[in-house]
Amino acid sequence: MARLKNDDAQWIVLMGFIVSFSLFFLAILINQSTVVGQTTAEAVSEFPKNDIRGVRGVLIESTFLVDDPTHLFDNRTTVQNEIRTLALSRQNAIIGISSTTVGEFTYTEIHYNNGVTAYNETYTFP
């Protein structure tokens, strides 16, 4: 390779490279940040926060109903079956609920699964 005859402007060249590369990396940062914002917003929209809250609330409310054997449509079992059917058809979610009483405490297991998000909880009363 031929020897450079004039190397006076080395600093100017170096600064030019530094400025170019910093601009380049800043552009990458700006680009990535908007993608991150979009995926975050999408993830928040798809996360069924309100569905889980609603199902949880109404299931806990339903555990305070009593079964009345004198009616065909006894309360608690009917209501929980209706919740299960409606959640499956309107919210694409599988709901499971079961209660066990140990001593004075009632443990209610709540399961929610819509294929993407699963939520499990054991609700203790009192």
């Binding site: 450079l4 060249v13 908007t34 009616h71 449509f73």
Partner: protein, 172 residues
Amino acid sequence: MVNEGGQLYTIEGVAAALLLLVTAYFVVNSTSVYTPGDTHLSDMQMEVIGSDALAMMDTADNITMTKSPLRQIVEQDDAERFNTLFPNTINARTEDTQDDIQYVANVTYVNPIDSTITSTHLANSTRPFTGTEHAVRVSRWVLIESPPFPEFSAGNTKGMHAVLVEVLLWRD
């Protein structure tokens, strides 16, 4: 070559041109990505407003009242009251002017005769829902007694029933 002075300047010139081009590409690309992210944010906001409004309507006025306004509305199929309470909540702003969010509300229940799912219209705003709107859906579970739906007219359907109030919200 007769004269090879200024080779470094040429290399710098080519490199800077390439970098500027790539930078411009990235900048243009990133601004076009920004719009869909923005739409999701306003969807999220409207979803929060709607579910909060339903939560407020599903809260009884005081401790002596056992039924929340929303439960009374569903039990009596009271579209007029829904059309008063719901828009007042979702369209409220801190300044004087009201927002203009449109909605259509349905009640979904399980038919006690053959256990099918049935949706019935509850209330809607002044503008009809055509299906092309960019709407968000909010829902609220309500436990009701004596449902007003025709399938429940038989005497053996006493007791509580779970129904799902679903509201579509959109701006136009």
